[in-house]
């Protein structure tokens, strides 16, 4: 999948499309290759959904250089929108997805406008406060579920003209989760090459240059932030169907820590970074679990170690390692 992202310009669109299709087909049968058990399906579906969740926070962290602690809000908006609209009004998956995107854009537009002039610590704090407010509302407002949440979310229904896709089990939902993940990857890959992506990076890395080119940093910040929200939101949307239950726990730090760790673990601005990070973390929790307290200690320690010693993530570590292995004369000039 790296091929899509690194997007070697020489390879041409046709080759890239072929590679992409091949990878998508392999992805589709990946759970079967891993034994076809329900655990294989549910673990992979969960990894795909959580990875999409992480990509939302990834573009804010990687391209604005800001730590949003409020993305659980968009994650929950997706879950609550899918749950409420499908249970109370019987709407199909397309409608709930559209509503999720709309609500996330509105919420992120508001939050982004409010935080336009804030940076770093203050930005993190304000976004965190927004998530806390969201949690209190979800916890106390019975009309949208209250502290018990919403049960009885029916199977995901996606009508395609004549036929309707209907999925409730992990096996059914895997193709949807994979499709959402692939679409997100394409979207992020395009974003990286887009004018907005490069402008955002310039604003972060070289504000003076950006200013001299007439780029308005506030516009860029708002645009990237608003763009990031529906990505995390759509992950929450699918999560609601996967779990068939939505509650205020969607605001829990479990998800926030997962998002941040997944992104920094492999390294920022690496296309498949959040995906690999999520896969590593979920695999550790599900397959090599050492018990709740130890898992949290390990997760916290890994996060701290990576941030202290290899701020560039595992990719940075790998690069250092390769550099060290090169003989002195081969060593690139620094």
């Amino acid at each position: 999948m790296t091929a899509i992202g690194q997007g070697r310009p020489a390879s041409g669109p046709a080759l890239r499309a072929t590679v992409f299709v091949v990878l998508a087909v392999i992805g589709l049968f990946l759970p079967r290759l891993l034994g076809g058990t329900s655990v294989a399906y549910s673990t992979l579906t969960t990894i795909a959904i959580f990875a999409v969740m992480c990509y939302g926070i990834d573009i804010v962290l990687s391209y604005l250089g800001e730590v949003s602690l409020g993305h659980t809000l968009f994650w929950a908006i997706g879950g609550y929108t899918a749950a409420n609209l499908s249970v109370k009004y019987g709407l199909n998956g397309w409608s709930t997805a559209l509503a999720t995107i709309a609500l996330c854009v509105v919420a992120a537009g508001f939050l982004g406008a409010v935080t336009l002039r804030t940076r770093e610590f203050v930005f993190s704090l304000v976004t965190y406060a927004a998530a806390v407010v969201g949690y209190e509302i979800a916890f106390n407002w019975d009309a949208i579920g209250g502290s018990d949440g919403i049960v009885g979310i029916s199977a995901l229904k996606l009508p395609f003209g004549v036929a309707t896709f209907s999925g409730a089990t992990q096996e059914d939902l895997w193709p949807v989760a994979l499709a959402l993940l692939l679409l997100t990857l394409i979207f992020i890959a395009r974003f990286r090459r887009s004018r907005l992506g490069t402008a955002a990076l310039m604003v972060q890395m070289n504000p003076a240059l950006a200013a001299s080119l007439g780029i308005d940093p506030r516009k860029i910040r708002l645009a990237v932030f608003v763009l990031s929200a529906p990505i995390t939101g759509l992950a929450g949307w699918l999560y609601a169907y996967q779990r068939a239950y939505v509650g205020p726990d969607m605001f829990e730090t479990y998800f926030l820590v997962l998002m941040l760790t997944s992104v920094v673990l492999v390294g920022r601005r690496v296309l498949v970074g959040p995906l690999i990070g999520t896969a590593l973390l979920i695999a550790q929790q599900n397959l090599f679990s050492l018990g709740g307290d130890w898992n949290k200690i390990i997760l916290g320690a890994v996060l701290a170690l990576v941030l202290i010693f290899w701020p560039a993530g595992l990719i940075g570590l790998f690069r250092n390692f390769r550099k060290a292995k090169l003989s002195p004369q081969e060593k690139p000039q620094e």
Partner: protein
């Protein structure tokens, strides 16, 4: 390549199979770490103890039982992963649930896979709604029953005419209050509700509310407060300091060891109710309960509390139904429990409503020596 992997997997399964085919798997999913960890461990320990006893008597359907216990970390997302693992390990029954959201998240996963799911502790009414799991079974009491016993005691036994509420302002507190008020109507309560004071779960200063309650001077104050390690002990202390004469009636299940430990003798005189005390009637007259209490003390060096009894009862109820039906099938076993009476559990004869709720028996009690957590059972009429 794929064939090789498949062959390897099949070979591995075949190697593992003969040893496991004989055993019946009892899964437990409770919080084993974090704040609720000790509670979840108590329930899990009780399940293990009961399973050991069944094995000592020759097992079930001629097969040995094994316990597979997992930690939901009080997090619904983690609970879902653990439920999926139980499905993969082909658990024959899963006994779960300390927190309602975790139970609600695991229910549809287990139900879709056709795994029998018994909820031991989680109290939400949604668990038995039948939407996620048409064969739901729950051992702990429901809010409806809890409200009934408190309302009856206040109206019929205390004969209170002026009643006040001191209510935690959330779904739990407000829900309990409206359920009690509904019971008042059923009982043709002729007195009046003089005032309702509310507070937030995290509050520790209740002096304003208590001053208002003192002015209103009701016969009884019905209190909901689920913060049993900080909020409730503080409330009890401040209640005494305010020198309020009204009877403090605590909602079902809030007077836990932590409250006695922190607030000590300030608890004296408080009236409340719960569904299990090994040393109080009717439970000290039930042979199974006495045997369980003795075995639990011997194995773990502590008295069994309500959580332990819930775990033990879950195993007993399930094992009786399996024995009676000679089946491990989810629907068959559930049908033998829902709407039926199972004899010989730590709760005595356990009668289940058609929706899967165990009909609880309550002990209404008065705290006589708070420092030593000594209670006295009160007659109910």
């Amino acid at each position: 390549m794929m064939r090789t992997i498949q062959l390897a997997v099949v070979a591995l399964l075949a190697l593992g199979a003969p040893a496991m085919a004989q055993d019946i798997k009892v899964g437990t999913i409770f919080p084993l770490s974090g704040g609720a960890g000790p509670d979840g461990q108590t329930v899990t320990n009780a399940v293990k103890l009961m399973v050991d006893e069944i094995n000592a008597k020759g097992g079930l359907l001629g097969r040995k039982l094994v316990v597979v216990s997992k930690d939901d970390e009080s997090t619904p997302a983690v609970g879902v992963s653990r439920a999926n693992e139980m499905i993969a390990e082909k658990a024959d029954v899963v006994i779960e649930g300390w927190n309602s959201p975790v139970t609600l998240a695991m229910q549809p996963i287990l139900a879709r896979a056709g795994v029998l799911d018994i909820t031991a502790v989680s109290k939400s009414d949604l668990i038995l709604s039948g939407e996620s799991n048409p064969y739901a079974i729950r051992i702990n009491s429901s809010n409806g029953f809890d409200a009934e016993v408190i309302a009856k005691y206040v109206v019929n036994t205390l004969k209170a005419k002026k009643i006040a509420f001191l209510t935690q302002n959330d779904v739990y507190g407000n829900g309990f209050q409206s359920a009690v008020e509904a019971e008042f109507k059923k009982l043709n309560f002729s007195g009046q509700i003089v005032t309702t004071e509310k507070f937030a779960f995290k509050d520790t200063d209740f002096r304003v509310q208590l001053t208002n309650l003192k002015t209103a001077n009701p016969d009884a104050i019905i209190v909901t407060n689920s913060s049993n390690s900080s909020g409730l002990p503080a409330m009890v202390e401040q209640y005494r300091q305010a020198d309020i004469k009204s009877t403090f009636v605590g909602a079902v299940g809030i007077m836990l060891t932590t409250v006695f430990k922190v607030a000590g003798d300030a608890n004296n005189g408080i009236i409340s109710a719960d569904i299990y005390f090994w040393d109080l009637p009717p439970f000290n007259g039930i042979a199974e309960s006495n045997a369980f209490a003795a075995a639990f003390k011997k194995a773990y060096g502590a008295d069994p509390d309500k959580s332990a009894a819930l775990g033990a009862a879950a195993v007993q109820v399930w094992a009786s139904a399996v024995q009676a039906t000679k089946s491990l099938d989810r629907k068959t076993v559930a049908d033998a429990i829902r709407g039926k009476t199972i004899k010989g559990t730590v709760f005595g004869d356990a009668t289940f409503l058609p929706n899967g709720q165990l009909q609880p028996r309550y002990v209404v009690f008065k705290v006589v020596d708070g420092k030593n957590a000594k209670l006295e059972a009160l007659p109910q009429n």
